[in-house]
Each structure stands twice: as C-alpha cells, then as structure tokens.
C-alpha cells in the first residue's frame, strides 16, 4: 500500500515537473532562439526557423553578427543612453512617487481624495493620445543650462526623463503598499516627536523594499522599452536610446543575424537588473498575494 502511494506521489511529481518544464520552455524558447540565432549567418538563421535547429547552437557559428551590429550602429552609445535615461528616471520616480504616495496615505490635506482620483484616472489615458500635445509643450519649454537660458527641450536627455518621472501606476503602487503598513508604527513615531520627513525616511522607506523593487522593475521596463517618445523628441543620434536604434537594422533586406545580436546585447541590462532585484520583486508579489 505504501509502495503504491509512493509510486502515485512520484507520478504526480513527474507530471507536475513536466507541465512546469513545458511552461518554462514556452517562455525561454524565444530567448534561446534570439541568442542562438545571433551566432548564425542570416541565411542559416532563416532556414533553421523551420526546425528545432533554431534553438540549438548548430551550424556555422561565429561572432560576425556582433561585429556587424557594432559596425552598423553605435550600439554602445545607445545602450549607455538608455541606461542613463532609465536609471535616472527610475531613481527620480521612486523618490517623487513614494513621496506622493506617502502624502496621499499619511498626510491630511484638503482635496487629497479628489487629487488621488485624478492621479488614478491618468492610468486609463494611453500615452499615444497625449504624445503630440506633450511634444508641442516640451518643444517650447525654457531650460537654464550651462550655456544660459535656452528654449525647447528637444534633443536632450531631460526631455526623455522629466515627463516620465511621475506616473499614476507607480504612485498607486506606493499608495496601496503604504496603506498596508501598521498605523501603530506611524503613530508611535509621531508620539516620539518625529517629523513627517523623518517618518518617511526612517520608518516608511526601510519597510518598503518590496514595493520599491516592484516599482523600480516596472518603471525600468517602461523606460528601457521607450520607442515612440524618443522617436519624436530626439533628432540627434547622440541622444537615441536602444529601441530607436533597433530600427537601424531594418533595411530593405533586414539583417536578421545582426538584429538578433543587437537584441541579445540590449537584453543583457534588463536581465541583470531583474536578477538583481528578483528576490524583492517576488517578495512583493507574494505579499500582495497574501493580502489579496
């Protein structure tokens, strides 16, 4: 009897792992295809798509596509631009949105609920609908830089960063998380004479690791994948990010091997960032799950 039970257990385990492996394969195969194809000549890459060879390191493998990608486009410049714009925006966004969330949850001020509703309402407005008005606005804004006062933000890093610092989703994440923090902690800090800024810095932020990680990852992905906005506000190559750079590879005859090499190169920062924050991200999801 015990032997039958053990067999059933093993069978269930095997089926469970089989299903999990299949699901994992669905997600990992595109990545494998991208990486493997980046080492193959375009002709072979295209002919391999009709078989499992597409996912295997077989055939004529070389680094030619990578060299071709660097010759075709300033890949390093695009990656540095994207990382600079993304990391700056993420940091500023975490600061501004967490302060906004703190204010919405812990401070009492007139019109707070209405303002929060307005912020949340922005979640349903697609960016494409405001892209042109925003373009017209930023093209006329003043900026005091090292060379004095200038008009218009086009062709700069700031035009890619500042409009994206505050957003409804990130504020919403912080509001939801802060609402779950024990009120007793805040009250105790107030009784001890802590200022609101001290409470934010010393009580709330240290407890907010998971939501900071979640917000950072989501914001990172949004910023790193920016395409439409930089396309219309950046005209000089020196400010272009990776996704606009991808278009360099789509000529009349797309250089598929170089495209895969470029995609592999620009995926590395995303994977590295995700792996660095993976634990906190999963903890955040798990926490949300328990609450739900």
């Amino acid at each position: 009897m015990a032997a039958i039970r053990a067999d059933n257990h093993r069978l269930r385990l095997a089926v469970r792992y089989l299903v999990l492996i299949l699901i994992a394969a669905i997600f990992i195969f595109p990545l494998m295809f991208m990486v493997m194809s980046s080492f193959k000549p375009s002709d072979q890459l295209l002919s391999d798509t009709s078989s499992l060879r597409a996912f295997l390191p077989v055939g004529d493998l070389s680094l030619h596509n990578y060299m071709g990608a660097f010759e075709r486009a300033p890949v390093g410049l695009f990656v540095v631009n994207s990382i600079f714009v993304t990391s700056t925006t993420v940091l500023l966004s975490l600061l501004v949105c967490s302060l906004a969330g703190f204010s919405f949850v812990f401070l009492q001020w007139r019109g707070r609920d209405v303002m929060l509703s307005i912020v949340l309402a922005t979640l349903i407005v697609p960016f494409e609908t405001i892209a042109i008005p925003l373009l017209l606005e930023v093209s006329k804004l003043p900026w005091l830089g090292l060379s004095g006062l200038e008009w218009g933000w086009l062709d700069s890093y700031r035009v890619q960063i500042i409009p994206w610092i505050a957003d409804g989703l990130t504020i919403f994440l912080f509001v939801q998380y802060f609402k779950g923090l024990p009120e007793e902690l805040i009250e105790a800090a107030r009784v001890e004479g802590a200022s609101w800024l001290q409470i934010y810095l010393r009580v709330v932020l240290p407890l907010s690791g998971p939501v900071i990680a979640t917000a950072a990852i989501l914001k990172f992905l949004v910023m790193y994948n920016q395409y439409l906005w930089p396309l219309i506000v950046v005209q000089q190559e020196q400010y272009r990010p990776v996704m606009v750079g991808l278009q360099y590879f789509f000529q009349l005859s797309p250089a598929w091997g170089e495209i895969m090499a470029y995609l592999t190169l620009i995926t590395v920062p995303v994977l590295a960032f995700y792996l660095a924050l993976q634990r906190a991200f999963i903890a955040s999801i798990a926490t949300t799950g328990v609450k739900g």
Partner: protein
C-alpha cells in the same frame, strides 16, 4: 575724438564686412539611411566633397532609420524643427508640400531635364524634390525555367499579355517543381503592396483614385476594371499560384533563389544579390493586362524645408549632389537605377550591355508614378488593406466599395486636399 570715432567705426564696419564675406553658414540635412553602411558612406562623401568645394556653406548630416523616418519628420514639423534639406520617399512629397513642410526647389526644372521622370517630384506644377535614383519592379525568372516550361521570353516591345502570364503561372504550377508559381512578396506588408501591386490594377484599367480630379476613388477603384483585377488577384491565391499574406518572410527573402518559386515579382534592389546566386536569372518586364504594362516609380528624393532660411545654399547642395558621378556611385553601391542616361553609362550594371541595363529602359518605358496627391498617404494604406483582404478571400466588390468610401471620406474630411 571725432577722428577716433570715425576710425573706430571704419574698423568695426570693415571687420563686419570681412566676417560677412568669409562667414560659413551651416545647413542641416536629414537623411533616411541610418544603419545603411553603404548609403551612409556615400552621402558622407558627397557632403565632405561639397563642404570642401566652397566656403559659403557647411552641410551637417543627421541620419535617421528609414522605418521611422517619416514619423520623425512629421514630429519635427509639428515642433517647428525641420532641417534645411531633407529627403523623402517620392509619393509622400505631395502630402508634405501640401502640409507646408516643403518649399519648391529654387532650381529651374530645366536643370534636371535629363533625369528620369520618376526622379522628379512635381506637385501643383512646381518641382519640390529631385532624386538621385529610381527603382523598378520586374519579374524575376530563370532562363532554364522559361525553356523547360516552353515559354516565350517577353520583351519591352512585346511583354506578356494577361493570357500569357496566366499560362506561365499555370505551367509552373503544373510542372510540380515549385512550391508556388510566383512570389509576390506578400509577407512585406508595407508600401510595397501599393508600389508593386497598384501597377497590376492600373494595367487592368483601374486606379487608386481619379487622376483627373483627385477628388474621388469612385469608378477608379471599384469600376469594372478594378473588379476584374480583384477577381484575378484573388484567383492567384485561391488557385495556390502564389503564397498569401501569411508568407514566411524568410521565403520571400530566399524562395526564388532556393528554387521554391518559378517567378518572383521583385525590386531591382535585390537584383545584384540574386545575380550572384542564380546564374541564369532573367529580368522580365511587367505583363500587359490590357491597358499597357506599368510599374511603380519615384524613390527617395531631396527637397528643401519650408522653414529653411537658406534655400539658395540648400539648392547649391542639391545641385552638387545630383552630379552624374554621385548618381553613378550610388547606383554601383546599392544597385538602383541612376537618374540620368549619362550616369548610367558610368555604372557597371546600367551601361549599355550591362547586366541591369534592362531596368533603365524599363523605368523609361513602363514607370508610372503613384497618384501625385496629398491624399496618397491614406489612399495607399487603404489599398494595402484591400489587396490583403482580397488575397485572404474577402468579397471583391464589397472590399473595393468599402475602400472607395474610406478614400472619399478622407478626401472630403480634408476639403479635397485643396492647394494652399
């Protein structure tokens, strides 16, 4: 004191005149070739040569990826940030001129009298843009295939008729040697659809829009000729003569070379690559479906933005860039048709007896511009959808009627695209 003032004034004035006489003005130019190593090299060479040839103007290049170029230009126009010189795809020129992005070239049209018609961007009677090359579409075939299937080799003077073309496709299918008789490039769902397939419709006697008034598509896109085209077009896919809209891009890329297709309706920009891999490739002119054979015309061209403060400098650059030696250099590098016969003689492929000389004559004989109207940008999109839908099995008459409604509504919405 008075003498000092006069002397000082004279010195300042002289310095100003000196500076004015030797000042170099920077002209900005936008080009669609970012990521295209060959084109980038040549355009940079032209600019370097121009900058070195005189001291009045210094041209500064900014390159953009081709796929997103039009969006960048439109956004810049909205923000008032257009450069002095910009290049544009031929059929979009009327829209940009109508939208106020461009000014007519301050160069007499006579200066370009030897240029192929497809390279001249003329709208509202004015020359707005000029191209260094044109492109052409032909029917790729193998001499051996034509022989095996017992087919006559069509010529410019005597192209295949509709019956001959249909017979060729059926013969290829019956031979059972190919996956499909012809590759039409259905996987390339872009301007290719209009550029490559509108000529078929025109040869049937139809059109995208009434070219006399440009204020309706009624009759042109849904008349008897257009319906005949639609039925024929649909039969190509229903009868499995050509792969449909789900064609694998890899097959479009290499299918003809690999022998999967007997024929390929393809652009001359793929000719050099194909010649290197298919020894007996033959480039055949477009068939005549009744109203004369036509192919698309007009490729990338240079123009001057309406906001440019230096149209004279921009014109100097355009005249410099359109010299025969540069037309030939571009043609040798990217395989497209040089804009003049004299430049063609300077090329490897287009000189008399050259492997691609057929394209030059083809462009002269069969090229027909896509409708020269600001509404083309919408009309083209509507046609692309209609061609795809019909290929996928949609009702021909209903699809074309719906397309006419969309085009007419757009024309009406824009008040007939009246000239400003």
């Amino acid at each position: 004191m008075k003498l000092f003032n006069v002397t000082a004034g004279a010195v300042i004035a002289a310095t100003g005149l000196y500076n004015a006489a030797f000042a170099t003005t920077t002209l900005s130019i936008w080009y669609h070739g970012a990521g295209n190593k060959v084109e980038s090299k040549i355009i940079n060479q032209i600019i370097d040569d121009f900058n070195a040839s005189q001291s009045d103007w210094k041209v500064a290049l900014e390159s953009f990826p081709q796929n997103s170029y039009n969006d960048s230009v439109t956004a810049a126009a909205l923000a008032g940030k257009l450069p002095d010189i910009l290049d544009m795809d031929g059929p979009i020129m009327p829209n940009w001129a109508w939208s106020g992005y461009l000014q007519p070239l301050p160069i007499p049209e006579d200066h370009f009298k030897n240029f192929l018609p497809g390279t001249k961007g003329i709208y509202d009677g004015k020359l707005y843009s000029i191209g260094l090359w044109d492109a052409a579409v032909v029917l790729y075939a193998r001499k051996s295939t034509l022989k095996e299937l017992g087919l006559r080799t069509p010529t410019l003077d005597k192209p295949w008729t509709k019956d001959e073309f249909d017979h060729a496709l059926q013969a290829a299918k019956s031979s059972a040697k190919f996956d499909y008789a012809i590759d039409l490039g259905m996987s390339d769902k872009s301007e290719w659809y209009t550029y490559a397939f509108l000529p078929f419709l025109q040869s049937f006697g139809g059109g995208l829009v009434d070219r006399k008034t440009y204020d309706t598509a009624e009759g042109a896109l849904n008349g008897d000729a257009a319906i005949a085209w639609g039925n024929w077009w649909q039969s190509l896919f229903k009868d499995k003569l050509a792969p449909g809209t789900s064609q694998d891009p890899a097959d479009h890329e290499n299918g003809f070379i690999d022998g999967k297709y007997a024929f390929s309706w393809n652009g001359n920009w793929n000719a050099v690559k194909t010649m290197a891999k298919v020894d007996d490739v033959e480039f055949l002119p477009a068939p005549d479906f009744g109203q004369g054979p036509t192919i698309g015309a007009a490729s990338w061209q240079f123009g001057i933005s309406a906001s440019s403060q230096h149209p004279d400098g921009a014109a100097d650059f355009i005249k410099f860039a359109t010299q025969d030696k540069y037309l030939a250099e571009f043609s040798n590098a990217i395989g497209l048709i040089p804009a003049t016969a004299s430049a063609a003689q300077m090329t490897d492929n287009y000189k008399d007896g050259g492997a691609l000389s057929v394209f030059f004559n083809l462009s002269k004989a069969q090229a027909k511009k896509r409708p020269v109207t600001p509404g083309y940008v919408v009309e083209s999109k509507v046609f692309q959808k209609a061609a795809a839908d019909i290929a996928d099995g949609a009702g021909v008459t209903d699809t074309l009627d719906a397309s006419v409604d969309q085009i007419d509504a757009d024309i009406k919405r824009n008040d007939g695209y009246k000239k400003n």
